[in-house]
C-alpha cells in the first residue's frame, strides 16, 4: 500500500510516500518512494523540493500562499509524468498525518473522523504553535483526497502509558483538573520505534526489556521504556523540559522565571523566546546550537563550548541513572536523532564509567558506528546493551496508518492508570 505521510508546520509541509503493508512491516522491507517538502508557504518564492532515490533532486519555486495550495502542489508533483513517482494520485491509498499534541484524548494513532478532528481541535490550547498548522494540513489533505482514509499519529500518544506519579506536577491539583497541566512528553513515535528496533537488534522480546531511549536531535528527550511501555519521559507539558537542547534550556528552577521577568522587565513573549530560542547549547556557549559546531569549538579550546557540551552529556547521564532506578534495572540504552546517531563523543561522555549500571561501551564500535545503520556499541561483556538506531518518524507514521487500517493498532494507555479527577 502506498501511504502519503504529511507533517505540516507553520510555513512548511514535509511529505514522504512510503510503500508498506503489515507483511512489509514484519519483514522490515517497507521503503520510501519519495520524500520532500514545501518551505516558505505564504510567500511569493515558496520552494518545493523532492528527492526520489536514484534520481537527481527536483526543485521548483512558485507562489504558494497556504497549506491547501501546498498539498495540492505536492500531489501534482508526485503524479507528474517526468518527476513523479505515481501514475496518478489515486495510487495513494491512505494518508498519515503527524500531530504534535493529542492531550489525554489520544493514547494511540487513530482513523480521522469528524469527531476525531473536533477532539484534536480541543487540544489546540495545549499546542498553540503546532496543532493549528497540523489541523490545517489535515483539512487540506482531506478535501483534496476525500476518498482515502486519513490517520492521525500523535507525538504524545506513546507516553500516555505513564503512571500519574510520573506525569502529575507538584502544583495545586486544580491546575491539572482545570487546565490539563501535566507531563505529556513528545517524540513518542521515535521513542516507540527505536525501542521496538532495539529489541529486534538484541533478538529479545520487547516485553522482557527495560530500555532508556535517547532522542537527541534539535529537540532532545529521553524515555524510560519498561517492557514496551513508556513509564517516564524528560519532556513535560511542553517540549521545553528535561535535557539541554540546541536552543532550549531544559530543566530549571521555575522560581527563576518571575525573578528574571522582574529584573530584566521582560514581557511574556520575550521570556518564552529566551527559554526556547536563546538558551541551551547556544545560550551557554554563545557559539552555536549545532552540536557539530560545539564539538569543533571544544576541540579549538573554547571553554564555554566545552561547558555546554558537558552539561548536555551530564543531563543524559543523570536521567539514565534516574530511569534505571524508575524501572528497577536496565537492559539497554538506545541513541537516536541527529546527535544521538552521529556523535560518538556525546555517547561516550554520557555513558563512560557507568559499569555500576552494567554499561560498558566498546570504544571502537562507538567511534566507527556506521552512519544511518543500526549498531550495537557496547562491549561483549556489557550487561546492559547500548545501541544506535536511526529513527524514522515518517516510517512509523506510515506503519501506524497501515496498522490502524488493518485493525492492529494497540492503545498505549494502561487501564487503571488515570489520575483522580
Amino acid at each position: 500500500m502506498k501511504v502519503l505521510v504529511l507533517n505540516c508546520g507553520s510555513s512548511s509541509v514535509k511529505f514522504q510516500v512510503i510503500e508498506t503493508s503489515l507483511e512489509m512491516i514484519e519483514a522490515d522491507t517497507d521503503r520510501t518512494l519519495a520524500r520532500g517538502g514545501v518551505e516558505k508557504i505564504g510567500l511569493s518564492d515558496s520552494r518545493l523540493s523532492m528527492d526520489v532515490p536514484g534520481r537527481k533532486p527536483y526543485q521548483e519555486i512558485a507562489e504558494i500562499l497556504e497549506h491547501r495550495a501546498a498539498v495540492e502542489r505536492v500531489l501534482k508533483v508526485l503524479s507528474h509524468p517526468d518527476h513523479g513517482v505515481l501514475a496518478n494520485v489515486a495510487e495513494i491509498e491512505a494518508v498519515g498525518h503527524r500531530m504534535v499534541h493529542g492531550g489525554e484524548k489520544f493514547a494511540s494513532s487513530v482513523l480521522v473522523t469528524p469527531e476525531v478532528e473536533a477532539m484534536i481541535e480541543e487540544c489546540v490550547v495545549l499546542a498553540p504553535l503546532h496543532n493549528p498548522h497540523n489541523l490545517r494540513g489535515l483539512a487540506a489533505a482531506r478535501s483534496l483526497l476525500p476518498n482515502v482514509p486519513h490517520v492521525a499519529v500523535f507525538d504524545t500518544a506513546f507516553h500516555q502509558s505513564m503512571p500519574p506519579k510520573a506525569f502529575v506536577y507538584g502544583l495545586p491539583y486544580e491546575l491539572y483538573t482545570r487546565h490539563a497541566i501535566r507531563r505529556y512528553g513528545f517524540h513518542g513515535t521515535s521513542h516507540r520505534f527505536v525501542s521496538i528496533r532495539t529489541a529486534k537488534l538484541l533478538g529479545k522480546p520487547l516485553e522482557d526489556l527495560r530500555i532508556v531511549t535517547c532522542h537527541l536531535g534539535n529537540g532532545c528527550s529521553m524515555a524510560a521504556v519498561d517492557r514496551g511501555q513508556s513509564v517516564d519521559t524528560t519532556m513535560g507539558f511542553t517540549p521545553l523540559e528535561g535535557l539541554l537542547m540546541g536552543t532550549r534550556s531544559g530543566d530549571l528552577d521555575a522560581a527563576i522565571l518571575p525573578w528574571v521577568m522582574a529584573m530584566e522587565e521582560l514581557t511574556l513573549s520575550q521570556l518564552n523566546a529566551m527559554l526556547n530560542k536563546h538558551s541551551g547549547l547556544y545560550g551557554i556557549s554563545g557559539v552555536s546550537s549545532d552540536m557539530r559546531e560545539i564539538e569543533a569549538a571544544c576541540a579549538a579550546g573554547n571553554r564555554r563550548a566545552l561547558l555546554a557540551f558537558e552539561i548536555f552529556c551530564y543531563r543524559i547521564r543523570k536521567y539514565t541513572g534516574a530511569y534505571a532506578a524508575a524501572m528497577g534495572g536496565l537492559d539497554a540504552v538506545t541513541f537516536t536523532g541527529g546527535i544521538g546517531e552521529n556523535s560518538p563523543l556525546v555517547r561516550a561522555a554520557a555513558l563512560s564509567d557507568m559499569e555500576f549500571l552494567g554499561i560498558q561501551l566498546d570504544e571502537g564500535a562507538n567511534r566507527t558506528a556506521p552512519r544511518g545503520k543500526e549498531a550495537l556499541i557496547s562491549s561483549s561483556r556489557s550487561r546492559t546493551a547500548v545501541a544506535v538506531i536511526p529513527t524514522n518518524e515518517e516510517r512509523v507514521i506510515a506503519r501506524d496508518t497501515v496498522r490502524v487500517l488493518g485493525g492492529v493498532m494497540p492503545s498505549f494507555s494502561v487501564p487503571g492508570n488515570e489520575a483522580p479527577r
Binding site: S10, G42, L43, S44, M263, T267, M274
Partner: protein, 303 residues
C-alpha cells in the same frame, strides 16, 4: 460580508510607527511594502529597522534567523504605485492635515476602490480627511499607543461614511498584528488619549503646586493603580511636545478647562526638555532611555 484575505500590506512612512507596524506584519508572515519619499530615506529606514530588530535580539525576544526572515518579507519603495498590489494600506506620516490629505488623495487614485486605507492619527478627523475623495467609504482611522511594539491595544476608528467591509478588514489586520482592536466612532482624542490626558495634566499640576515631587507623584500612581509607568514618566516616554499638542488640540476642540495644558508642561517643552528621547523631561534618562533618577523604593517587585 466578504472576508477579503490579507496577504500584502502597504505601509506609507518609515518612521518609528511605520517600522514597528512593518515588523509586526512581517512577523505574522505577511508581505510588506514600505514606502518613503527618497532613496536615502528608504535606505535609512532599512538600517533603522535592522537596528530595532537587533535591540529585540539583545532582549532575547528574537533570533538572528527570525530577523532575517522578517527583513526578507519587507520591500522598500519610493513609488506609491507599488502599494497598488496591497490588500490594505496604512499611512504613518507625520500628524499634519494637509500632508495626510494630499497622501490619501493620491492613494485614492492608485488603489482599487475596495482596498481599505488606514489613517494613523490621534487628533485628526477621519471624515474631514476623507471628504471629496472618490472612495471615502474605505477610509478609516487607527490609533496605536506608545510603545507600539508592546502595547496590546489599537483604537480602530470609524468615520461618518466608512463602510463595514473596510472596518472589518481593519479589525482583522489589528488581530494579525497580535493586538486587540477597540471599535470606536470618531471623536476628539478617541478613547485613550481623551481619558489619559487629564490624568497627566493633573499630575503636572500637583507637581507645579509643590504638593509632591514628580518622582513621588509617579510612584504613588504607579504602585497605587498598578500602572507600568507613572503618568509623568509615561508622558516623558511619548514626548512632552506630543502631550502638549494633544492637550491643546483637545482644549481647542472641546473648550473644556480640564484639557487646558498645565504651564509646567509648556515650560519644559519650551526649554527643549521634551522627555526620554532627549534625556530630560520630568525625569532624566540615559542614552538607552533608561530612567536614571529613580527613588530607592521604585524597584522591580520580586515577591
Amino acid at each position: 460580508m466578504s472576508e477579503r484575505e490579507l496577504h500584502r500590506i502597504g505601509v506609507v512612512g518609515g518612521g518609528m510607527m511605520g517600522r514597528s507596524i512593518a515588523t509586526r506584519v512581517s512577523q505574522a508572515g505577511l508581505g510588506v511594502v514600505v514606502r518613503d519619499i527618497t532613496r536615502e530615506r528608504t535606505d535609512q529606514v532599512k538600517d533603522l529597522l535592522a537596528k530595532d530588530l537587533d535591540r529585540e535580539i539583545d532582549r532575547w525576544g528574537l533570533t538572528q534567523a527570525e530577523k532575517k526572515a522578517i527583513l526578507a518579507r519587507i520591500e522598500f519603495t519610493v513609488d506609491l504605485k507599488e502599494t497598488g498590489s496591497c490588500d490594505l494600506v496604512i499611512e504613518t506620516i507625520h500628524e499634519d492635515f494637509a500632508a495626510k490629505r494630499a497622501l490619501i488623495a493620491e492613494l485614492d487614485e492608485v488603489l482599487k476602490p475596495e482596498i481599505p486605507v488606514i489613517i494613523n492619527t490621534s487628533t485628526l478627523s477621519i471624515s474631514e480627511l476623507a471628504q471629496g475623495l472618490r472612495h471615502p467609504q474605505r477610509i478609516l482611522g487607527m490609533h496605536f499607543l506608545y510603545p507600539v511594539t508592546t502595547t496590546r491595544v489599537v483604537e480602530v476608528v470609524k468615520g461618518q461614511v466608512t463602510n463595514d467591509d473596510a472596518f472589518e478588514s481593519a479589525r482583522r489586520f489589528v488581530r494579525i498584528l497580535g493586538k486587540v482592536p477597540i471599535q470606536e466612532f470618531e471623536s476628539p482624542g478617541f478613547v485613550t488619549t481623551r481619558v489619559v490626558m487629564p490624568l497627566i495634566n493633573e499630575a503636572a499640576h500637583v507637581v507645579m503646586e509643590g504638593v509632591a515631587s514628580a518622582a513621588e507623584v509617579d510612584l504613588a500612581i504607579k504602585l497605587g493603580y498598578e500602572f507600568r509607568h507613572g503618568p509623568l514618566e509615561w508622558a516623558d516616554r511619548v514626548g512632552l511636545h506630543r502631550v502638549l499638542n494633544w492637550l491643546e488640540h483637545l482644549f481647542h476642540e472641546t473648550g473644556e478647562a480640564k484639557f487646558r495644558p498645565c504651564p509646567l508642561i509648556r515650560k519644559l517643552v519650551r526649554a527643549g526638555q521634551t522627555g526620554a528621547r532627549v534625556g530630560k523631561g520630568f525625569f532624566s534618562y540615559d542614552s538607552e532611555r533608561s530612567r536614571l533618577d529613580r527613588l530607592p523604593d521604585d524597584t522591580p517587585k520580586l515577591s
